[in-house]
Amino acid sequence: MNDQNELKVHNEVLFDCLKGLYGNRFSPEMQNDLRAAMETVVKTVVALRSVPPNSYGDLSLPFTPFRKEG
């Protein structure tokens, strides 16, 4: 899939997902705005995925085992 197609498909899938879950909260006008705002998220993650996986570091986890003192 080329970049433009990936953007379009991804955008529509996620928009439909949001519409299904929360559509009743938005007027038709707001749904258009929602669709446009969705593009920012999709463009962002698609750009992120362009970095080859072997370029990533290990995950530095903030979690540490807990033991209450005393």
């Binding site: 996620l14 705002a37 920012t40 463009k43 993650v45 750009a47 970095v51 370029s55 290990d58 530095s60």
Partner: protein
Amino acid sequence: MPTNPLFMPIQSLADLIKARQVSPVDLTKFFLDRLQDMGPKLNAVVTLTRDLAMQQARQSEEEIASGRYRGPLHGIPYGAKDLLATAGGIPTTWGAACFRDRCFDYDATVIRKLREAGAVLVAKLAMVEMAGGMGYRQPNASFTGPGINPWDVNRWSGGSSSGAGSAVCAGLVPFAIGSETWGSILGPANHCGVTGLRPTYGRVSRHGAMTLCWTLDKLGPLCLTADDTGLVLDAIAGSDPLDTTTSSRPFSYDPVPVLRPFKFGVIRNVADEADEAMRANFEVSLQTLKKLGTIEEVSLSDLPYDEMARTILFAEMSSAFEDFIETGGTAQLTAPEDRYTPYTRMVVFARDYIRALRLREIVARQIDEVFTRFDALVGPSRPTCSPKLGEDFPSALRGAAKDTMGAIGNLAGLPAISVPSGFSAEGLPTGIQFLGRAYEENVVIAAARAYQAKTDWHLRHPPGLFGQGSEG
């Protein structure tokens, strides 16, 4: 009062207070009156904490009179961004109408530390609702109205620490505490022509501060000078068992000038997307910096820095505000775009979030390697001067502008300071930022101090509007 304290740096005020030539009570009344008169004109104040302030000021005065001087913040009034919890029935609104009456029964650690340093809380300052994490794209995104820029009342003061920037700029407080997830200290500092310090991630406890993004949020001061930011950071830095992300590395402000030449780096093409005034003043600033040390161009790996920061922010904010979004809370927000945009962040895949976190590890190591050769990377503080009220602005958060230094600095949790670097043809301030190695706040402050010793931009204040304008 025998001395006019307006636009006086903290150390100068402190010297007068310590010598008992200025009374903390008189000083507090002076700033409370300014906040009351001018705060509403700038939409800078949410709550004036008059009773608490007078009580703290009287206590300061008594302690100093009895020889118990706490240090340079003793008796100095300040304002706090309204995302810092305050006890005593003082509301903490996060800039949102739905929280206008919400009170906490405890103080944020920063508020406690400043109280212990003897500082006097005079106001909770206005901010962009929910610290701007909901996707706002124009200045009118707070229940207190758009932050108004004291340099031009038709322009925005910046966000999300809007009130902190404009209150310091207009001389309503000697200093303020703001927060930055991505651009919220450096932005208002740039737009209002004040000095803003974003400390290293984990340097300052966020206990009691609104969470927007656990791995990006920082608290820091907005002041008149770089020296002032060091004095304030000295009081608020330190580990805190109530915020497990705080660092145990000690910080002690070092005001001694660095006598050796600085080594500055400039990221290749860093100013290319900045507007004309930002770019031109940055070029002039580089000529000043050449008198302070060396300047070398730096090339960085071609990575999607902005997208990494944005993905982390989107994913974490959607979790931090999950309940607020799920229960329809965004419908009550001021900015129309804040009512629907947060929903789009709820569909960021976990895989993409983890991808961004893993790439961030690479960025942190690569940029640290760069800092083995430089004291600071310098660049324009923001891509633009203050935008007009009522107009959409470009935003890295929304992908409508690039902010490489901001993205890298916040991703890697690095300290940065923005200081005024001149004015646009329209008379709007511009800023230059000094980005430093993790935990090297003293280095970036020293560089900014040296720059301010060679320039007078930080000594200029909005003329006319308040009847007490000053050029000196």
